[in-house]
Amino acid sequence: MPARAPRVVCGSVLANLRAVPSAEQPTSSAPAPPVPPKIDVSGMNFYYGTNRVLDQIFVKVPPNQVTALIGPSGCGKSTFIRSLNRMNDIIPGTRVEGSIHIDGSDIYAPSVDVAGLRRRVGMVFQKSNPFPKTIFENVAYGLRINHMSSSREDLSARVEASLKAAALWDEVRDRLSTSALALSGGQQQRLCIARALAVEPEILLMDEPASALDPLATQRIEELIYQLKARYTIVIVTHNMQQAARVSDITAFFWLGKLVECGRTEKIFTAPSEKLTEDYVTGRFG
């Protein structure tokens, strides 16, 4: 039984989700019905060998919102996001304690099909990693191996829909059979997003998706994230605090493996509750 440290529970924001974004009534008085979390992380610890890198994390990720994870390097935010689709399983010597539920089901239960989980919980990485194949095949790949298309026409339609959702279609429609590696960095990253979207995930995890891109390509990715949240629940790790401020609804601040504060983004960036968060977002850290 671990000692009970004061803990940050990110979940109280859920109750306010419907009340706050309304432009017409910024101070709605009607109590909003509680939204069940899409992802519910409870009492989570994470170990590399004997080294505990995440300590008693409680987070409720609301559906159809963008949740940003911020914090200095090595604070555990990438480890955290990778545990949401069990990408850490492939690293030897890692161990998870506590629970992570998606839609109420424990994703670390022995019966869980990990490949199925990763189809539901897609991921986009910092460095775009298209397959050395054509643009079309990059998007079609996941559909083929998951037997998700019934015919050639259906496959083409799904590839087109995914490329459109990733705001890439207009740029590549005339060269679908050319190599994906010939695309620019920003286009490659949007291709990776299209590839992730093709298999119809519910959740999209993004680990520094724009950190290797120029400002314009970054802006496109950020707008894309904003549009995608209507259909997906998005969790994004970013080193760029301004990016977190621009794209997210909820911000969680990690520090030395602990969740220091989690709340609505405008609150975190205008009036955080914790001194540590204040110091980090104002650049006084260290």
Partner: protein, 228 residues
Amino acid sequence: MSEPVERVVRHFQEELEQLKTRLLEMGGLAEENVRLAVKGLVDRDHDLIDRVLVGDEPVNSLHIELDSRCFTLLALYQPMAADLRTIVAVVKINTDLERVGDLAVNIAEAARRYASHAPIKKLIDIPRMASIAQTMLRDALDAFVRRDLALAQNVIIEDDRLDALKTQIFRELLTFMLQDPSTIEPALDLILVSRHLERIGDHATNIAEDVIFIVSARDVRHHAGEGA
């Protein structure tokens, strides 16, 4: 070879548009309250006067809402150039409009006091002042929407007419008061009203100056830059 630069419509722009819309709503309310207050004074209409006294509440809540919107936009989007100038200017215009709302209330209060006395003269110059002040306010906000430098410049020029009328009203009422001390109380209320209307013109002028700053990044306040 140059690839066409695709413009990405940012959702920040939508929020900026909402901000402007709310600011205009506030301006409309403040202007309407000025109109009602002066009409209440001229017609000695207690209902109108009472409407102004309660009508300031929506202006006050918009004052708070707009500041909060600007605060959030600055914190979350780190706006640059024209966007930055616009948001900083909206913070200031917001304060000006809130003060206009307060001045309408002050006029209504003076009107209520004035109505308790017999009228000392037919009111001609005060409605003229009110009309000029309202037009200045409306033009300043139109200039804001249309980014119209000429219109903003015109608002600043109009302010001189308002100042002249205020001086004229003061001189005229001074004669009344010297001749008949019983007119002192109502005459002072009329002088106060003219002073409030002149202040409304000053706020419209501030807004016009902010518009010039938004559009051209020039600071024309206090005749700055004229000698440069």
